[in-house]
Symmetry: D3
Subunit: 239 residues, 6 copies
Amino acid sequence: MPKANKVKPAGKAPAGKAKPELRAIKGGKTAPPAKPAAKAAATPLKPASAAADDAPVIALNLPPGKLSPAMTAYFKKCQDKLGFVPNVLVAYAFDNAKLEAFVAMYNDLMLGDSGLSKLEREMIAVAVSSQNRCYYCLTAHGAAVRQYSGNPLLGEHLVMNYRAARVNKRQRAMLDFAVKLTASPWSVEEADRERLRRAGFSDRDIWDISAIAGFFNMSNRIASATDMRPNTIYHGQAR
Amino acid sequence: MPKANKVKPAGKAPAGKAKPELRAIKGGKTAPPAKPAAKAAATPLKPASAAADDAPVIALNLPPGKLSPAMTAYFKKCQDKLGFVPNVLVAYAFDNAKLEAFVAMYNDLMLGDSGLSKLEREMIAVAVSSQNRCYYCLTAHGAAVRQYSGNPLLGEHLVMNYRAARVNKRQRAMLDFAVKLTASPWSVEEADRERLRRAGFSDRDIWDISAIAGFFNMSNRIASATDMRPNTIYHGQAR
Amino acid sequence: MPKANKVKPAGKAPAGKAKPELRAIKGGKTAPPAKPAAKAAATPLKPASAAADDAPVIALNLPPGKLSPAMTAYFKKCQDKLGFVPNVLVAYAFDNAKLEAFVAMYNDLMLGDSGLSKLEREMIAVAVSSQNRCYYCLTAHGAAVRQYSGNPLLGEHLVMNYRAARVNKRQRAMLDFAVKLTASPWSVEEADRERLRRAGFSDRDIWDISAIAGFFNMSNRIASATDMRPNTIYHGQAR
Amino acid sequence: MPKANKVKPAGKAPAGKAKPELRAIKGGKTAPPAKPAAKAAATPLKPASAAADDAPVIALNLPPGKLSPAMTAYFKKCQDKLGFVPNVLVAYAFDNAKLEAFVAMYNDLMLGDSGLSKLEREMIAVAVSSQNRCYYCLTAHGAAVRQYSGNPLLGEHLVMNYRAARVNKRQRAMLDFAVKLTASPWSVEEADRERLRRAGFSDRDIWDISAIAGFFNMSNRIASATDMRPNTIYHGQAR
Amino acid sequence: MPKANKVKPAGKAPAGKAKPELRAIKGGKTAPPAKPAAKAAATPLKPASAAADDAPVIALNLPPGKLSPAMTAYFKKCQDKLGFVPNVLVAYAFDNAKLEAFVAMYNDLMLGDSGLSKLEREMIAVAVSSQNRCYYCLTAHGAAVRQYSGNPLLGEHLVMNYRAARVNKRQRAMLDFAVKLTASPWSVEEADRERLRRAGFSDRDIWDISAIAGFFNMSNRIASATDMRPNTIYHGQAR
Amino acid sequence: MPKANKVKPAGKAPAGKAKPELRAIKGGKTAPPAKPAAKAAATPLKPASAAADDAPVIALNLPPGKLSPAMTAYFKKCQDKLGFVPNVLVAYAFDNAKLEAFVAMYNDLMLGDSGLSKLEREMIAVAVSSQNRCYYCLTAHGAAVRQYSGNPLLGEHLVMNYRAARVNKRQRAMLDFAVKLTASPWSVEEADRERLRRAGFSDRDIWDISAIAGFFNMSNRIASATDMRPNTIYHGQAR
């Protein structure tokens, strides 16, 4: 079992129901705040079990590092807008350079310009994380799919078996590609790219699908390797 | 995609939050009702998507069969106590003999006498269904774990990766056995049974763990083979 | 190794060569007897090894339960018609309720009305059990395929690799579906059902194929989990 | 389906029950004949299905080659002693050099000097062929295990799941090694060899286990690639 | 097959044999140059096949983006020090923000402070890439292992099967963890972390091992998804 | 770890760059010498690591056997033409009968008449060995592909992921068949043979592809089981 004195969750995470647009927080680039997270969660978690679940945040004992002003501001913005700092950021906070690199890549991929909608990007995140059975990412990005789609069931479909989701052909082709790339990357070839093109994706879109699927194959493994625990608030969001 | 005119969901499923004990409905044996399902669900699903998700209940066109008085009474009792008839029963209702056999086996395994608590039995159901990525069973039995345990996170752990659940050693041994039996039944041997005995399980308990794991390996496959869809109400229960 | 004093085989199993129709014994419903099992097996097994193989019947120490009159009659009928009580029934006999539920489901699936012939149902049983490498079910249902088909080689094909069997297109489609459903249930979708329909199966037939494949995925696991040993007489039947 | 005019079975295979020692036929080295195969098989196969099963012997159209005197004599000896020429030899007979190389390696491995008994070598053959689900080798070498052991059930155990066989610790270690080497050769390391040494095997024995397991990984693939069909007579031998 | 007009390799890659320390190029941070790459490669590749292999660099048609001054300087430094711009950078150059994020993360992980030597980090890269069978990363990082270690065989071991490498216990534990995390991330637990601690790794080291293994699980997939081709010069380096 | 005093490498292996035709050494049949191996290797291996890598040749302690005159002559010819005796032959030299059987089969398959070129046969060897992650065979036959093709990159493609190799359709079909036969031999059927025929292969060619793929499935396992180490000279050949 994890030893005591591990990385601690940052601040207090008041139960809140973040609107999708609140996710558009860019690291160090200070996008204008959208809407404050106002309402308390409708279904409060049992305090005991909630406390047990994400403390410590990871099963490694890493003393907190010194954050740059940009990262300090970013954490504050998370707290203000979302009502909490996502635990993946807390986990990375032992080393400011690693945190900045992670935030820059994450924000570019998930929030930057793309032919894929933000919902589609989160759908890839969840389908990949389901293939890899990653508790952290399924929880955090399952909540994001529920929020962006306004369809709580879509989040559940993607967590459980993306083939059960009633998505359109374009999205199904996208998820098939991402999951194949996750399960057997060595087997992806031109025929797979052609299938995406026939479903309407541009070559730039294919890069984005690949890069997002790749990113979560990284994050899933860091989370599993460290037993990273998601903020408990995610579980009740947008049900 | 499934053709039209498939098996329809039975009756109207009023949003309700069934207490765990309401599950103790015995087929044809009429246990006394426990507590009525009173409160409406806090987070109503989008009507459109909810309707889309479990209609039809399965992707096979099977005309409804004639139910025996016992089964008719059982359906009524479900409606009264749970507020809905579970879709697996609706799916089986095309043939009364099959329905009765399923109900008899299910109720014996999940509600009959056992050294395993009802929660532990549901935990096995979800861990097995996660290994098999079964949308129907993860949804219905994930809700049951949340209800019986009063710990919504436990349901999520078991749906996503049972190794993330912070359970005791006995329960971990039980889940390890059930998942190994699911993934590679040919490899289960005396050493595996001995591990259960050392964790405190009797030989009768080992039968029960095996039989429940076996049962959900059956149900998962029938559900996947027919694209069985869970009642949408499960998704919001006991969050 | 299994401990002593486990579930014992029921009665004495005189070496006999049961005709296929003798399998049509309905639990508690007393079908008329067909033909008695007359001839002794041509190749008697070495007593030592035979005795060693199915005693005990399972590797769990479960004291025998009290059978209902219906189940007592059913066991007697097995003894009269087949010359032995199948060990799976002996294994379940520690608990009458579980035995009855198993018998009811088994007899409905394997002997009840269906668009599938009894031979086809046994073929599914063996192909699924081969995928799961289940010694009990391969032995008992391999014998059934040999008996029903009058083709000893068909039984061997299905035990060893169903793709080696020279069956018609309908049966091949049926076995492909059952084996895929066994190996990766999460991947079965509408295209798989359509393949069955194109091979001439009705939606009701698809249910039956799925339910039988599901049933043996259950039985295989209970047998493997308990080291259930088939009656040695099966090995020599209908060679 | 295979095209017509494929490799034909050699000669007529009179149903016979070869004694184990009849297998000790050395290619080109003319060991003295042991005992003639006298008795007709107790359970004659249905002519229709038997004929269908091993004609053609393989699904490739390879015109017969010219055999050397040594190979002609070897075929004759097979016919005299076993009552038939094993179909694997018929298959190789399109090219005398390939036939001779195969026979030399086979006879050295399976009949030459070794710390492993001939039965143990056949046990490896069947366990490996079961892992690879090879119809030809399971049939031919399953019969050999039944013959050498005088225990028909041992042959069935090894065909179906070697873990069900009640063998001693030495033989279990041998089979575990052979099956691991078959399923994931990249993962075999010094610890695996040490396990064999602790079970009493010499380094020379380890070579033999490895070489036999390797040989059947070759033969299984050639048989599967060509749909090689075993002589039907094997099925009824030593039951 | 890939369409014409894909991402082109940057500049001319004069055959050179970069010293290990030349890899220490930090993106946008301009580390002082080490030693120039002087000698031409001893074994020039066939021009035809070499040209065919990495043109285009990827199988997606992505018009080149405008690089920031920092990235322009970084490319120039690569050209000056290594004699070429690694194709992964060329591939990312269609979008400066993605390129900068990739370079920042790569350089932090592979060249920043760590309890792991640079060689150990490259060893993880290759072992992970071998599990994923990634042509690009095996080529580029296989060369890096050869360079850093001065042991060409170590690079080959890790490309082919890391278990064949004769490394010390610490490094073996590190590679076992990285490969398990790659193959079945869901199965990594506290026992795996404890194994690393017992091999002498700190919790910070465990993070680094996980993050590097994660990073190459990302890069392997982006490379496979886009058919990214390594600069041909890598093949001959440090043999 | 391997114990001391294992099989030793034969003679001294002067660094040389064997021309492809030098491989055409027939066991006991004395083909005329082609060209002597003249040039010393351009990149000498670190003596320490090279010495460590193939001494002992295998991790089994097998005293050398007495070689027949034919085998003694064969070893001498290897030494004269190649500059070294391949370690697989050294490994087999503990038993002359086994060595002769191996050499006969190897030379027939890889150097005898066939519709496949010698390069194509080596391509199969490497693709199969990559699937099985066999260090010995990837090293020795990777060198052979580099030599026969004059394209060092083709060897690397096949070692790393044969799908990355830019081969023609015929060769791709051949490699797809060989790798499928390696990974799941039970699944190869007539449709797979038809695919080869459509790619231009005769039934005799299909036999050869199957037999070579089968042979390396054997050799890979013997090499992995014994930790067979390739002559270090291979690593630098034909780069």
